[in-house]
Amino acid sequence: MNNKPTSSGIVIENATVQLGGKNVLNDITVILPAGRTIGFIGPSGAGKTTFIRSIVGRQRLASGTILIDGVAAGSPVLRKRLSYMTQSVSVYGDLTTRENVRYFAAMTGARRNDARQMADSVLATVGLTPQSRQLASSLSGGQKQRLSLAIALLGDPEYLVLDEPTVGLDPVLREQLWKLFGELAQAGKTLIISSHAMDEASRCDDLVLIRDAQLLAHGSPEELCSRTHSKTVEESFLKLVKGDE
């Protein structure tokens, strides 16, 4: 294994975030190699969203560094290489599905016609073409989630940072989305996917377990299971928490 900071991937060193005088992310050091599907797993309130916001550059670090391909998180050059799907469904309810995607496509810098093509293509990818003309506010919860995901696909970013993309979805839809994530990973994308559902963890190449603002463990699901002599990631998580206390 190469432990030197590489030019590809996300290198996080001693990252600490303070909000209201409290450490909501405490001294996290971890290297996330490019081209993998990385799960940020932990209970709600553990600091997953803060961690994600730090990576996409929306959250300032109190100390430490986050480098993406050697560039500090939040640098303007990264805005074309990285996309962020927020936890809340960040779409315009009073626009149609297609108008939403076209607008965000234009924001990636695409010209009018390219933006239209990009929009149609990502809508097809998430299976929302039949809902193109529907107002986003009238979509079902799962459809809104997929619309939000479609927007994250615009501009073909290398890093997709998705905050709880499958929360509240029915099992069939979750399966479909994980299939799509698999395809993106196949295409060489780096995916960061946060979830508090432990059963989703086994689908990731790499897991970052977070609890109480701390990094509890990092490794592949198999590594974590064998290290803790567990059958499932959930069991492994519980053992790690116990060992921690």
Partner: protein, 244 residues
Amino acid sequence: MSIRRTLATSGRVLRQLRHDPRTLGIIMVIPCILVTILRYVFDGEKPLFNSIAPLILAIFPLLMMFLVTSIATLRERTTGTLDRLLTMPLSKLDFIFGYALAFSVVGLLQACLVSGVTLGLLGVAVQGGTLPILLVAVLSAFLGTTLGLFVSAFATSEFQAVELVMPMLMPQILTCGLFVPRDHMAKLLQWLADIFPLTYGVDAMKRVATSAEWSTTLTKDLLVIVAYGVAALILGAITIRRRE
């Protein structure tokens, strides 16, 4: 900053309005009805109405666009759309100018309708002509938009955004010279009125209504409004932080 992204943002804001016919109706029709009501409030005092009506044409756009913009941008802040936009390759100015442009266009349409009713149907005569009236109204709409953008940073709910009309706009409306000539007010209020941007909008309307000539003081009034609008835009841009 990019023209393409700014225009795309304006287009998007206007499209959102188009999907909301009720809001559009309120923006366009209600001021016409209100100015008509005012005409019959002053039924026995027609000359008084003739001198007040142009001033109203400066106040309505400010009030309306302030409300619409502050709520629209607050929604961007609370629903996560702004969060997402700020991780994308657009300038904050694309966002802010996009809004300013979109609502100035809406302001222009509103001004056309309301001045059509006021100058046409209600027969209010202005010396300076219709075009300068429209120009002042649009600048007032622009000012309302920029103030709304700025102020939305200080509201955490739509409730508060609406309430902010009271501290932000009511003092300006009370002291702008609509109710009594400003030199009849207490000295302190006169100074305040000199600071408030709406005062210059109302003065500009007064000048257009009473004089056929374009004076340098009129130009100055308009420049003051533009300066306030630009200042509010810059402050608005500062309140939008890429990194929190």
